[in-house]
Symmetry: C2
Subunit: 199 residues, 2 copies
């Protein structure tokens, strides 16, 4: 199989380990990389190492960052009385892109999944409960995914928080904006019906 | 937009520059990378640099390799009297995977494209003509793509080689094996008809 050279072959194998990168894409990426100017490749390798070496969890919300507190937790302009609970930093980014949410976050780094053997102790739930004791929180918005694991996690967290008297809410699930009813699955259609609001 | 951290943000931006990697995939890749063990990330960065620093063109066939001659050109078991001309190293790999081709290759690194301003001098054609003078070649198989550029290149090369008396052939184009006629474009269907062989 070594019709390239051992170095290019090793590169293809390393790249193929990345998520969403198959054998063909790894090949294309490898040839792209070896054709780039050396400085561009050095910059890429450096950026990867820098990010990996510098990465840490925000002491407050547990998102990935490179300082003690992430930019959101350390911002004085955010509403510190609201916490939105998300499964991972990408979900946090998705809500940040809306530009409309002013509160803080809490990143669980996963969701409870009995099938995969992921229990409440395997996600950053203890850290959330500690925050509720030390910070002055008025509302916890649970924005875990609308999957089985996400729903299980939401249910579990809400039961845990309810006794503290803090308001717990869940983001709405229903028909996505611009979604064409005929292509939407039945569960979502039922959810949308159940969650109907008066006009 | 800096809701991650500057280092992760830079990594996402660097990754998004790669071909076929959009903003979303770059995000997913970045979080995958910062979650990997440090040694795995160092190995990846190292492999990228090693491949880029070590890469060079094979002195004979011009494919990318890390030695003076690529593994194919330096193999004594290949039929050195046949050269298959391909557009890039990935096409070479595709034919190598068949395991049936025994000859050598010549990698053009592109194809003639008047629309993109790529002329015969911009691809490794001069190197091919030099090989025909110094090596003892009986046949040149042109395996450029079946696109406008590939066909133009094939035509050009065949006109260039014909006067030397060396046999020039072109890989067949037609209906792909397993292809369903009703989904195949008309040009391919016509090609398949023109290239029909007696049974």
């Amino acid at each position: 199989m070594d019709y390239y050279s051992s170095k290019i072959q090793s590169l293809i194998e390393e790249l193929a380990k990345l998520p969403g990168v198959g054998q063909k894409s790894a090949q294309r990426l490898a040839f792209h990389l070896v054709n780039l100017p050396l400085e561009a490749v050095e910059k890429l390798a450096d950026t990867i190492l820098e990010a990996r070496r510098g990465v840490r969890y925000c002491q407050k919300c547990c998102t990935l960052t490179d300082a003690e507190l992430c930019p959101i937790c350390s911002s004085p302009s955010r509403d510190a009385s609201t916490i939105m609970v998300v499964e991972n930093p990408r979900d946090l980014a998705a809500y940040e892109k809306t530009g409309q949410y002013e509160g803080l976050y809490h990143v669980l780094h996963g969701a409870i999944s009995p099938a995969l053997g992921i229990g409440p102790a395997d996600i950053r739930l203890k850290e959330l409960m500690q925050r509720l004791q030390t910070e002055d929180i008025a509302e916890v918005i649970i924005a875990t995914n609308s999957s089985l694991e996400g729903e299980t996690t939401a249910m579990y967290i809400s039961k845990l928080i309810k006794p503290t008297g803090i308001k717990v809410t869940r983001i709405a699930s229903g028909v996505p904006v611009g979604g064409d009813l005929e292509y939407i699955d039945e569960v979502t259609l039922l959810r949308a019906l159940e969650g109907r609001v008066e006009l």
